[in-house]
Amino acid sequence: MINFDYVKVSSSKSAIAALNKDATSQFIAGGTNLVDLMKRGVTSPQKLIDITNLPLKDIKEENGVIRIGALTLNSEVAEDKLIMEKLPLLSMALKAGASPQLRNMATTGGNMLQRTRCPYFYDTTMPCNKRHPGSGCGAMNGYNRMHAIFGASASCIAVHPSDMCVALAALNATIIVSNNKGERKIPFADFHRLPGNIPEKDNNLQKGELITAVEIPVNDALAKRSLYIKVRDRASYAFALVSVAATLDMNGNTIRNARLAMGGVAHKPWRLTSAENFLKGKNASEENFKQAAAIAMKDAKAYGQNNFKLKMAPNTIVQTLKTVSGLS
């Protein structure tokens, strides 16, 4: 690892000031992704600003909104009573991610900023437009079993690796960020981006900004029926091939409202809005769920080794909907 300067800050203001002062600096909190990337030489900040002392570790409910501080650990959020009761989908997704040790280190804000796990991004001897813009995409005609089937571009077919973010997408979360002018709110759907022709940019966080919290509206009707299903190469401690987050508000057998998002399929958590709209007012039935899945898959495109996802994704959508609706 290339050596670097290290400072520890104690307020959001001083964190932002330190970041603005030095263009080559980066925040560090859990470090589970950043230290890994630095060891491999994928990224080499000249200064790390340790933000773990900032007072951003609260989970609280106010006016029907749960606010989770950016430095709350993944394990703390997953095991929190309020979260398990009112946002069970988030708890399930967090528990499906990484390992207990990593969840004891990784923070809520850091989880959102995870880089892709595409092997070409990690291997500095390989071409990768995300790591080295203009060098090409090694995955396009290479090892692309884990890669995107939605929203990819000619320059990048990588996927976002987070489970937590798939749940947050389905839960209509809002990300709160601070900068030297004050605070701004970013709807979750507008936070992560598709690769387009600037795949090196994972999200719309601006220079000099610090994530301070995520806010999630409580919806008791939806919370009652929540499910996160993650399909992966081994039973635990593996990234998703495909995952589905689903919450349903049902009246008898009729679906009043549905929220669906997928992981492991795109450069960002992939919300299935058209399938949700189709399900509104429909009965819970295998036929309707298959149609919803077919609608969700409309623009899917695979790249060879990940062709299996074109079947696995709709099957997982149907299975998740059947289970969460009580059909099976």
């Binding site: 470090g31 990484a98 040790q101 039973a235």
Partner: protein, 212 residues
């Protein structure tokens, strides 16, 4: 004879130490071979210390297994490397060094974490427990006893990490079923495949109850 045993053990310790010193010195020589001339001027006595001073060190207070240490490290040093190379707690193992295997699991302020992805400087003021901190003198920790009883290992390389994780798994309340034990031990990979015996060992400690 007991005396002979002691001698053998002493000899083993000496051999261990000299092997470690050889490795340290030879890797240092490699480092010096590619170091700038200003650094080479420092290459007289106490090579380690002089070479280390070339890079910026930051001070750090750390309690390891109940003993406070005043240390100085480069910011890039991981907790794993600090424990093994500077404090000689070599029970904590370097498996993958990239957060994929769990061999480096230690407890920091009571929580199990991966020491290979933790920067030492970020642990300032914290309490670390390694595998060496579990036993009380000659009395093994109940989880260590259970791993021996149930054959919870073959080659033993992943074992310190498995045991640190297993103790945390019981303390967290996640050892209440076989499925949960498997799920909450999934961050510790055992290439020998001792998993069923590890589950048995954890189950026994959990069922015996008491504070561990």
């Amino acid at each position: 004879m007991p005396g002979e045993n002691n001698n053998q053990q002493d000899q083993k310790v000496v051999l261990h130490k000299s092997r470690r010193n050889f490795l340290k010195q030879s890797s240092l020589l490699t480092a010096l071979a590619i170091a700038p001339p200003s650094l080479l001027k420092a290459a007289d006595n106490n090579l380690d210390e002089k070479a280390a001073q070339f890079f910026e060190q930051q001070s750090l207070e750390l309690e390891v297994n109940g003993i406070a240490h005043q240390l100085s490290v480069e910011p890039r040093v991981t907790l794993l490397d600090l424990l093994r190379e500077q404090l000689h707690f070599t029970g904590t193992k370097k498996g993958c060094d990239y957060g994929q295997c769990g061999a480096c699991t230690v407890h920091v302020n009571g929580k199990r974490v991966l020491s290979c992805l933790s920067l030492a400087i970020m642990q300032n003021g914290k309490k670390v427990t390694t595998i060496e901190g579990l036993a009380e003198g000659d009395k093994l920790h109940p989880m260590q006893e259970a791993f021996i009883k149930h054959d919870g290992f073959q080659c033993g390389y992943c074992t310190p990490g498995q045991i640190m994780s297993a103790v945390a798994c019981v303390r967290e309340g996640h050892a209440d079923s076989d499925d949960n034990i498997r799920e909450y031990m999934s961050g510790n990979i055992c290439r020998c495949g001792a998993y069923p015996n590890i589950v048995d060992a954890i189950k026994e400690v959990k069922e015996k109850g008491g504070t561990i």
